[in-house]
């Protein structure tokens, strides 16, 4: 099986605090066609992991390599990594006033291709994808994340994922703060996206989002390190017992 993402022995510190490693000795390997889940207590480094893959300026990799789709991207820029096919759904996506969702998606599409975007087809595609996420057509004309509810923002992230159609989608706590119906729509979006030629990395606190998704692997992240990996039953076990066992192991 071919690997889409391979994180090798990564150590990460925060840009503004080099006193402590947030990720240490982290190894993770995801194959094409797989869905992986990362679970862990607050502050264990889950979001740092997502942002490290994307080379966020807030974090510095002090050791290790990240191989994405066969290329070492450890020294690449955020936009390069995105163009290569990585996507991330943000926990709290930024508001961009004055830019409509439709024009934003068009800007992204234009940057992805040298060809002129066919507006008719493009709008048809947006409408179809919005419909599948139970989003009203009018949302396309709303300003990007401005005045959107938590649920609307998350759906908007999933809409972007569907429009961009990346090779690897990292979903950072996309389910947090969502009601049951919204979670169902998000998992529907993930299933619409998922195929044998891409992969999904879900970062989550709870297992509700996973109910309708085929999960290949679950990893437990504690203090910046993956302390245990297993199949989906590991997620269920965490849901029941919590992280206490792993926290103790670590100390």
């Amino acid at each position: 099986m071919k690997e889409i993402l391979e994180i090798k022995n990564i150590y990460t510190i925060a840009e503004d605090d080099n006193s402590k490693e947030i990720l240490k000795e982290l190894n993770l390997s995801i194959n094409y066609g797989e869905v992986h889940v990362i679970m862990g207590p607050n502050g264990s480094g889950k979001s740092t992991l997502a942002n490290t893959c994307f080379k966020s300026p807030k974090y510095i990799i002090t050791n290790g390599n990240i191989i994405f789709d066969g290329e070492d991207i450890t020294d690449k820029s955020t936009d390069y990594i995105a163009k290569k096919g990585m996507f991330m759904s943000f926990q709290s996506p930024e508001e961009i006033p004055g830019v409509t969702i439709a024009s934003f998606l068009k800007t992204i599409r234009s940057s992805q291709t040298d060809l002129r975007v066919n507006m008719m087809e493009f709008y048809k595609e947006i409408n179809e994808k919005m419909q599948s996420l139970d989003m009203k057509k009018e949302y396309a004309q709303r300003e990007l994340n401005v005045g959107l509810s938590g649920g609307e923002k998350k759906k908007n992230e999933i809409l972007q994922m569907l429009m961009i159609n990346p090779k690897l989608a990292i979903l950072d706590e996309t389910d947090s703060g969502l009601d049951v119906d919204a979670i169902k729509i998000v998992s529907k979006g993930i299933n619409l996206f998922k195929n044998e030629n891409n992969a999904v990395l879900i970062i989550t606190h709870n297992t509700k989002l996973l109910e309708n998704i085929n999960v290949d692997k679950v990893h437990i992240l504690v203090n910046g390190k993956i302390v245990k990996s297993g199949d989906r039953s590991l997620a269920d076990e965490i849901q029941k017992k919590g992280y206490a066992e792993y926290l103790n192991n670590e100390n």
Binding site: S77, D79, E94, G98
Partner: protein, 467 residues
């Protein structure tokens, strides 16, 4: 809508603004009584106009530079070509305009826009107007749209009634300079009850090195009439200082409406000391739209005098100051009658050490009861070396009014840039998108071709390819 400008910009924007025409010309440098008499003679003016010029010259020599705002002490009138006579006439057909000059206006998209979306066009090249035209239908309705020098000759009484009445010679040093040297510009008269469906546009192009441009624009919108006027300004870049000291006098009658849009993209060697004033009568409305991108230093604060009951002023402005630019702009408004209202929406963007200052000066007279002022000023700085200031001065002589002033100054968000970069936009593309979004509420008030051009100017500005 894809315009001529738009298509051309796709290929090569830099060259438009930097195009220079090689035209035979006669130049006067500096400011003396003799030069002024010569200009007046060249123009074959009536003596009352020369009298105004000479009086203005006296005032210019007496008046001092402003003691506030950007430093312009390096300005030397003797290095400015105060009058440039190209050996060309004003034409009614673009075909008759000399090829070199026509090419520049073509590239700026003016003749094309005239065909599609304008009721009349004036085009000024340095000191003189090279093209002026108005549709026959409007001429029949009594609309006057002429180059200002021409209007003095054809409608002396009408011009006399309004000329210097909004902006007196004594206003400040650079308006005295303007009246001493004024040349070209437009005169517009919209008779009672006439409503124009399409805008008139005057384009001011400065071509010569070291040139000064002193156009005078006078617009009278009579009672119950309405119109939109667009002025565009640009110049190629030179190392020598250029000067723009234009003057705009506007008169909006009872129940009349005037939208006055300016998109200014002077080159970065331009000292832009422009003066604009508008009188608004009962139920009348002036709407100012101002886009300031160019110039080395700008000092421009349009004044609206709300003279009649229920008269209104709406002011929408966007400034973008890059490296070496000091854009000192704003507005003044005098509420002179009851139930008058002012709405101000201003945004500024500064980068690479550029300075944007927004001054608002609101005077509400005692008699202006039940009046309303809503001011909003937002600034965005793209780095920590740029500067942005908002300086409000409010004089409220009665208590029966509603006043609100919101000002916010912010730095572009690194988080937002990162968010957009995770979608595959480069850092520059991400910044441009944020800036365009910030400017959007203003740019949507611009004429459509200019809104497109403005977004391109923002992109270019961020790529650092001009200036």
């Amino acid at each position: 809508m894809k315009t001529n400008v738009d298509e051309y910009l796709d290929d090569n924007i830099n060259n438009i603004y930097n195009l220079k025409a090689d035209v035979d010309s006669e130049k006067y440098f500096g400011l003396t009584k003799e030069i002024i008499e010569n200009i007046s003679k060249e123009k074959n003016e009536p003596s009352w106009v020369l009298d105004i010029r000479l009086k203005a010259l006296e005032l210019y020599d007496k008046l001092e530079d402003p003691t506030w705002g950007p430093d312009i002490s390096y300005f030397d009138i003797n290095k400015i070509a105060t009058y440039i006579k190209h050996n060309v006439n004003e034409e009614r057909s673009w075909d008759d305009v000399p090829e070199d000059i026509k090419l520049i206006f073509d590239k700026l998209g003016i003749p094309e826009a005239e065909k599609k979306s304008l009721a009349g066009v004036g085009a000024q090249f340095d000191s003189e107007v090279v093209y002026h035209n108005l549709t026959e239908k409007l001429k029949e309705q009594g609309v006057i749209y002429l180059n200002f020098d021409q209007a003095i000759k054809e409608y002396p009484e009408l011009v006399k009634k309004y000329f210097t009445k909004a902006v007196p010679l004594t206003d400040h040093k650079y308006i005295a300079l303007h009246y001493a040297l004024f040349s070209g510009g437009s005169f517009v008269y919209i008779p009672k009850g006439i409503k124009l469906d399409l805008p008139l546009q005057s384009y001011f192009r400065l071509n010569e090195k070291g040139a000064g441009q002193f156009e005078h624009t006078l617009i009278v919108v009579d009672d119950d009439a309405s119109m939109e006027f667009i002025e565009g300004c640009s110049a190629p870049g030179y190392n020598d200082l250029n000067l723009h000291a234009g003057c705009v006098e506007l008169f909006v009658g009872k129940n009349a409406y005037l939208k006055f849009s300016t998109i200014e993209n002077w080159s970065r060697n331009m000292l832009n000391l422009n003066t604009k004033k508008c009188y608004v009568e009962e139920n009348g409305k002036i709407e100012w739209i101002m886009g300031s991108f160019g110039s080395k230093v700008s000092m421009l604060y349009p004044l609206s005098v709300l003279n009649g009951k229920n008269s209104k002023c709406e002011f929408t402005a966007l400034s973008f100051a890059g490296k070496g630019q000091n854009l000192d702009t704003g507005l003044k408004v005098v509420h002179n009658a009851p139930n008058t209202s002012t709405i101000v929406n201003s945004k500024s963007i500064s980068k690479d050490g550029g300075i944007c200052t927004f001054r608002s000066n609101v005077l509400v007279k005692k008699q202006a009861t039940n009046s309303n002022m809503t001011l909003s000023c937002e600034s965005l700085m793209l780095d920590s070396i740029s500067r942005s200031d908002t300086i409000p001065v409010n004089t409220l002589e009665n208590n029966d009014l509603t006043f609100s002033h919101e000002a916010s100054i912010g730095k572009i968000s690194d988080k937002a840039i990162y968010y957009l970069m995770t979608r595959g936009l480069s850092e520059i593309e991400a910044k441009a998108l944020i800036v365009q979004g910030f400017a959007e509420p203003i740019s949507k008030s611009f004429p459509v071709e200019y809104a497109v051009e403005m977004n391109r100017l923002i992109n270019l500005e961020l790529e650092g390819t001009i200036g």
